[in-house]
Each structure stands twice: as structure tokens, then as C-alpha cells.
């Protein structure tokens, strides 16, 4: 249930490692902090959703479904994307 996309041909990287303006699918979220996990999920950043990274500086800005989110590097490192 945690990992939705297990195609071997796809590589899984964190949002930080992604190129701006590229689209992928959220693979899973990984963090020790339950508060952050809970917040990301409640905000709609969920495994299986397509995600587009819009910019990396001054902070990370990305789009999931119809909404944009701004996060810092720390959070971006918790989001694993397969593309």
C-alpha cells in the first residue's frame, strides 16, 4: 500500500533530484516525523498522484493535481517520485 508504482523500468528519486518542469508520479513519502507525514497527506500530496516540479529556487514549488505547494529542501527530500 505504501508503494504504488513498482515498475522496474522507472527510477525513483526524491523531489530534490528531479529536474524542474518535469512530471512524475509520487511514489511514496518517507519521514520519521509523523506530523510532517500527516500534514503532507492531508494536504493532498499522496502516493499515486502525478506531480510536476515547477521550480527549485528560491524554494521548491510543485503542482499536484490542481494545487500548487511551496516546500523547503528538507520536505522535498521526503517526497519520492518515480519518473
Amino acid at each position: 500500500m505504501v508503494t504504488k508504482n513498482s515498475h522496474l523500468s522507472l527510477k525513483t528519486i526524491t523531489l530534490c533530484a528531479m529536474e524542474p518542469r518535469k512530471t512524475g508520479k509520487i511514489d511514496h513519502l518517507e519521514t520519521k516525523n509523523p506530523g510532517i507525514l500527516q500534514k503532507l497527506m492531508a494536504m493532498g500530496i499522496l502516493p499515486g498522484m502525478p506531480i510536476t516540479l515547477l521550480r527549485k529556487s528560491p524554494s521548491y514549488l510543485f503542482e499536484v493535481d490542481q494545487t500548487r505547494y511551496a516546500v523547503d529542501r528538507e520536505i522535498a527530500n521526503h517526497i519520492y517520485v518515480s519518473c
Binding site: 502516493p47 490542481q66 511551496a70
Partner: protein, 716 residues
């Protein structure tokens, strides 16, 4: 046009045994994610006004209003936005607690139609909680603009509850919603929702076991509107509020049972066991299960054209050319979207964003508030209207009517209620605050503030804050008291404390800022020195606080609402309501200060207080006369600044002295109201510690600046 208070049976308290007829109006509670338009809807339904702005976290407390719907009068309750029934930040907790404690006859779950997929999960949670629910699809205009289609009857059928589409900022769909509310009765909606979400055979037994332990006996059921299943789910996710709530009701006589202690211990054991058997965090598991359900529904009822679907879903991940595949979106609508997209990319550009910010500050703050309102308008009001006509007239009239010198002094003396308090409040503070709030409302409504948060996040991290804290900090330039309350939206206690200290110390509020801009703008170098010292102070104290205070470094997650065109009506009402609030807040305190000073003068205490404050005043290089300014400053910093304005007018201070006084005063505690708010949000001890640090530190900084400027032989 007050209607009789009626509370028909089975409606106000959902027919529970404790229902007393006619006790209160039936309630309607608005719930939903942040920034979806709950407050707009509240305003449209109730006719009263609560703040509406384009960023998540505008409302941080509960607002009550009244509305007549059909033949009945209702109490309408607006809540701070929350992402799910399980809260993370403080303002979400405020809403969650309300859901535990209140029982309404109708709950309106407000969602942003475009983001139905993301928000429907919360609807399912509310249905799980068995609340009498109507789903409101707000912002239908924006969904339409992007060519999104939603089959409302079908959605209503799937969920088993009424669904209404609205554009609450324009009042569209409100009548339909009112009809739905008045037709809403528990009978025909008696839990049609039977699509219980199955969380899996592993975890279901635990959910049911906890559920069973919540009510120790038939008569002693938990007195809340939320279903046992929902409470059980919250407990399994170790939600603080749910446990605290249980703890509290355990102590109420009606609930008490000899088994209760054993029960709550049993619950804790179950929670531990459940979290062990699941390999992932339970909130993760629950959310994914719910979302699967949501996806099933959304696929049936919602259609999103390719273009707005994440821009591109091509396998290679390249952004597709701007092709117009939007079914309904006409050319002009799409070019509107493209235009706002362009502006957006400038505002948050790491390089171009900075000049954009300075342009906004220069035109909005410096030219409009500083030069026009605080300069031209205040000058005219203060010197021509009040100084030239009103004050001489009132003074002369008063002198001839009331021949007692003591009373004359109280009303029209040097520090008199009329000549000082009222004049300052109307001629000085009001125009400045009004102009500021006007500019401010425009900025808020465009959605610029979250973008500023994005732009400044990495800088704010250095002072122990995340980009989210940009919003309360900027609000602090309007009014520190309001901003102190908004620190609730920050995630950690540490961040809230740092933000609070900085607000109290280094963020001047609009009235004070306006006066200081107008006093110092005659001499740009003075203004620059003032600006640099305050900025350094802000950074230094933030940096030190982030080093000293224990706790984790902050993280930054913020939803970015689209840029929106501000609505003139909202800007005007918002500016008016803030001015109104501010004026009512300021005038009594100014009058009180006048009265206290008058009493002080009669009893000789005033002279004594002045004598004491003269020491630090002289110490930072100011003439002893300037002690009044600081004495006023204890009441409110802007009152002190107004006093400074008076001294500056009569040419009593040199350039250096003016800068030193302005700096010291800026660093003072903002006002009594802000102090009270700090007590409320942070506790008495912390509030006292903050002010115990600030006053000496303000004088200390004044001293240092004076010493340095003297040593360098600067003359301004």
C-alpha cells in the same frame, strides 16, 4: 426584524436527551480546508463581516453570526480552515475542538470545486463522524474557467447528502444553498451514507474494540456530535484532542462509571497494539484507504480537460505546448490564466522577485502611506483643520464654559483628552492606519503573501522561522495584536515563540511606522539609519533566539493559492472594519493615558514617573523633556511616536536625537492589547519575560546607537 427564538424538537441538539426546547438557535457550522472561501460564504449568509483574504490561515478563531433562512433564524459559525479531522497546527485544533464540543443542526463542508479530488477525503471523514452534512462546491467560477465539469446530482447520489455549487465571493448559489439548508432535515438524511469505508481486516477489529470502550454504559454516552467510530479512528492515530476530550468527559458526573478508568487504560493498550501490527503509520494507512474511495467517486463525477490537468501527463514528462484543448475555456479566459501565470513567475523569481518586492514597498508603503497619508493628509488635518480651526474653537469654548483650571487641563490642556488624545487619534493615527490597511488589503487579496513566504523562506530559516512566518510578520506591520494571534498558524511552539518575540520587539505597527516615516522622511539618511538598526535588531535577536531556544528547526509547507483579482467591495469593507476596530481599540487607551497623566499631575506621580524615566532618557543622549514620549510609549508605541511627532514639530530635537528616540521607541512593546494577547497565546510568564527583556533592551540599543553616532561625529 428579530425572529422569535425557536428550537423545534430534534433539530437543535439532534434529538439527544439533553435537548432543551428554545434554549438556543439551531446552529450551522462551516468547515473545510483553508482558503476555500468559508469566510466569504459566512459573510454572504450572515450579512456580518469576518476577514476574507487570499491566503491559507486567514481565520484563526471562531466567528459567530446570525442568519435568517426560510422561516427560521440560525446561528452561523465560521471556523479556521483545517485539512482533516486530525489536526496538525493550532488553528486546526481550534476547529477540531469546536466539532467535539458543539452540536449543530447542519454542517456545511465547503470545498474548492477545482480541488474536489483532494478535499473529498475530508467529506468522507465528516460522514464517518455522522455529522448532518451538506457539501458546498465553492469557487465554481474558477473550475469553469479551467473547463472542469462536475456532475453535481451524481455526486450527491454517491455521497447521499445534498451538494450545492456556489461562487460565494459573488453571492451566486447562495439562494440554492439556503433552500437546501431549510429543506435539510435529519429524517430524510438519516445517514443515507452507508458506504462505510473498510480499513482492512487487520485494523477493523481494533477500531471496533476502541469504539466499544467509549461508552461505558447505556445512559453514559459520550456527549459529542461526533460518532464513536470517528473518535476511535482519531484515538488510533493518537490524536491529542480526542484523548483530552475523553479524559475530560470521564470526570463529568453523567459519564462516570466505575469501569471508566479501566476502559481508558484498555484503549491505550489497543492503540499501542494497533500501531504495532501495521507496518506504516496508521494515519498513512487510513488516508490512503479513504483516497482510494475518493478516486472511485471522482472518476465518475468529475471531468478535467487535459490542459489544466497538471499541464502535461505525457510520458516523457515534457511540458506540452500551450495547446488549447480546454473544452469550455474560451481564448480570453485562457489568456487571462496565462497572464497571471507570467506575473506569478516574476513575483517568485529568485532574482526578479526582489525588485518586485521593493517596487511594492516603494509605491504602496513609502509613497502612499508615508508621503501621502502620513505627510500631506496628516499635515492638513493636524495643522489646518485641528490646529487652525477645531482645537482653538473647542479650547476657547471650553475655557469660557468651564472655569475650573483642573478640568480645563483634563480636557483641553497640553495632554488633554481633546487636545491630545482625540487629536492624535483622529488627525494622526486614523489617516495613516486607514491608508496602510487599504494598501495592505489589496496585497492580501491578490495572494502575494504566500509568494513572499516562498521567496523569503531560506532567509527566514536563519532566524529560526519558516517562510510561513512571513505572513504573521507582515500582518504585524498592520497591527501587532492581530498578528500575535496569527502565529497560531505556525507549526512548532518554538517558531511561535520566536515570531512572537520579534513581533513585540522589532516590527513597528502601521500607526507608528507612518509617523516615523513622516518624521524621518525629511532626512533620508536618518530614515536609512533607523531602517538598518531595526533590521539588524530583527535579524540579530531572531538569530540568537533560534540558537538559544531548544527544539527542532522549522520546516516549510505552504499551499500556494492562485493569484486573484482583488474585489473592490471586499477591500473597502475590510479596510473599514479594520479601521473601525483599530479606532475603538486606540481611542479609549489614548483617553485613558490622558486621564492617568492628569491624575498623575494632580498627585505629583506624573512628575515622579517622568523623573525616573528621565534617567534612561538622558542616558541615551536625549533632552530630559523627551521623557514624556517614552512614558506615552508604555501605553502604546504609536502614542509615543505621536508625542515624538509633537516634539519634532516644535523643533526640540536634533537629527541624531530624533533617530535615537525613534529607534528606542520602535523597539518598545507595541501596546497593552498586544501584551494581553501574548498572555493569552503564550502564557503569563512568557509574556512577562518578553516585556522584561524588551524595555531595557530598547534603551540599551538607543544608548549604543547614540554612542556610535557621536563617536563617528555624525550630524543629521
Amino acid at each position: 426584524m428579530k425572529l422569535p427564538v425557536t428550537c423545534p424538537e430534534k433539530e437543535c441538539c439532534c434529538g439527544k436527551t439533553r435537548c432543551t426546547l428554545g434554549k438556543g438557535l439551531p446552529k450551522i457550522i462551516l468547515i473545510g480546508n483553508p482558503n476555500v472561501g468559508k469566510s466569504s460564504l459566512f459573510n454572504a449568509l450572515s450579512g456580518s463581516y469576518t476577514l476574507v483574504s487570499n491566503y491559507p490561515g486567514t481565520s484563526v478563531e471562531i466567528t459567530h453570526g446570525k442568519s435568517r433562512i426560510g422561516e427560521r433564524e440560525y446561528e452561523i459559525i465560521d471556523t479556521p480552515g483545517m485539512y482533516s479531522l486530525l489536526p496538525v497546527s493550532e488553528e486546526e485544533r481550534v476547529s477540531q475542538l469546536l466539532l467535539f464540543e458543539e452540536k449543530a443542526s447542519v454542517y456545511l463542508h465547503v470545498v474548492d470545486a477545482r480541488n474536489l479530488r483532494r478535499m473529498l477525503s475530508f467529506t468522507l471523514q465528516l460522514l464517518e463522524a455522522e455529522l448532518p452534512l451538506i457539501l458546498v462546491l465553492n469557487m465554481m467560477d474558477e473550475a469553469e474557467e479551467r473547463g472542469i465539469e462536475i456532475n453535481i446530482p451524481e455526486l450527491s447520489h454517491y455521497l447521499g447528502i445534498p451538494v450545492v455549487g456556489t461562487v460565494s465571493s459573488e453571492g451566486k448559489g447562495i439562494e440554492e444553498l439556503k433552500t437546501a439548508i431549510s429543506e435539510f432535515t435529519l429524517e430524510n438524511n438519516a445517514q443515507k451514507f452507508r458506504q462505510k469505508i473498510d480499513y482492512g481486516s487487520e485494523i477493523e477489529p481494533y477500531i471496533e474494540a476502541v469504539e466499544g470502550l467509549l461508552d461505558p454504559s447505556e445512559e453514559a454516552e459520550i456527549p459529542t456530535g461526533i460518532s464513536r467510530r470517528a473518535i476511535s479512528l482519531l484515538m488510533l492515530q493518537e490524536d491529542r484532542t480526542a484523548f483530552e476530550y475523553l479524559h475530560r468527559v470521564e470526570k463529568t458526573p453523567g459519564y462516570w462509571d466505575e469501569n471508566h478508568e479501566k476502559n481508558s487504560e484498555e484503549i491505550r493498550k489497543l492503540v499501542k497494539a494497533a500501531s504495532k501490527i501495521s507496518e506504516v503509520h496508521l494515519s498513512y494507512l487510513f488516508t490512503l484507504k479513504r483516497q482510494k474511495h475518493v478516486n472511485g467517486i471522482v472518476e465518475q463525477v468529475m471531468e478535467i480537460p487535459e490542459r489544466s490537468k497538471n499541464k502535461s501527463s505525457g510520458k516523457n514528462g515534457k511540458i506540452r505546448a500551450e495547446d488549447d484543448t480546454g473544452k469550455k475555456g474560451s481564448k480570453t479566459q485562457n489568456s487571462n490564466l496565462d497572464f497571471s501565470e507570467k506575473i506569478d513567475s516574476i513575483l517568485i523569481h529568485p532574482v526578479l522577485g526582489i525588485p518586485a518586492l521593493f517596487l511594492i514597498l516603494y509605491f504602496g508603503l513609502y509613497l502612499f502611506v508615508g508621503v501621502f497619508a502620513a505627510g500631506t493628509v496628516v499635515d492638513y488635518l493636524e495643522n489646518t483643520i485641528f490646529g487652525g480651526y477645531i482645537n482653538p474653537f473647542v479650547t476657547a469654548k471650553f475655557m469660557s464654559l468651564v472655569p475650573y483650571p483642573a478640568l480645563q487641563d483634563l480636557f483641553v490642556g497640553e495632554y488633554g483628552i481633546f487636545t491630545q488624545a482625540v487629536t492624535y487619534a483622529i488627525a494622526l493615527i486614523l489617516p495613516i492606519v486607514g491608508a496602510f490597511f487599504l494598501v495592505f488589503s489589496i496585497i492580501e487579496d491578490t495572494g502575494y503573501l504566500p509568494r513572499l513566504g516562498l521567496l523569503l523562506d531560506s532567509v527566514f530559516k536563519k532566524i529560526g522561522l519558516s517562510g510561513r512566518a512571513v505572513i504573521p510578520m507582515v500582518l504585524g506591520f498592520g497591527c501587532s495584536t492581530m498578528a500575535t494571534m496569527v502565529t497560531r498558524t505556525l507549526e512548532t511552539k518554538r517558531e511561535r515563540l520566536i515570531a512572537n518575540i520579534l513581533l513585540a520587539l522589532a516590527i513597528p505597527c502601521s500607526a507608528q511606522l507612518g509617523i516615523i516615516l513622516s518624521i524621518l522622511s525629511g532626512n533620508p539618511e536618518s530614515l536609512l539609519i533607523w531602517f538598518i538598526v531595526i533590521l539588524l535588531e530583527f535579524v540579530l535577536i531572531g538569530f540568537l533566539a533560534s540558537r538559544v531556544l531548544p527544539g527542532e528547526a522549522p520546516t516549510f509547507i505552504l499551499e500556494m493559492p492562485p493569484l486573484r483579482k482583488p474585489k473592490i467591495s471586499n477591500i473597502l469593507v475590510k479596510t473599514y472594519s479594520r479601521m473601525h476596530w483599530y479606532f475603538l481599540e486606540v481611542l479609549p487607551l489614548f483617553v485613558l493615558a490622558s486621564v492617568l497623566i492628569w491624575i498623575g499631575k494632580l498627585t505629583g506621580l506624573f512628575a515622579l514617573a517622568l523623573k525616573i524615566i528621565e534617567y534612561p532618557t538622558v542616558w541615551i543622549g536625549l533632552p530630559p523633556d523627551a521623557a514624556d514620549v517614552f512614558l506615552f510609549g508604555f501605553f502604546r508605541r504609536d502614542f509615543g511616536a505621536a508625542g515624538l511627532y509633537g516634539m519634532h514639530d516644535s523643533g526640540l530635537l536634533t537629527g541624531v536625537q530624533l533617530v535615537v528616540a525613534a529607534i528606542t521607541l520602535t523597539l518598545f512593546m507595541p501596546c497593552i492589547a498586544q501584551f494581553m494577547m501574548t498572555i493569552k497565546e503564550r502564557g503569563f510568564k512568557t509574556a512577562l519575560a518578553i516585556s522584561g527583556f524588551i524595555f531595557p533592551f530598547a534603551f540599551f540599543t538607543g544608548f549604543i546607537v547614540n554612542t556610535i553616532l557621536k563617536a563617528l561625529g555624525v550630524s543629521l
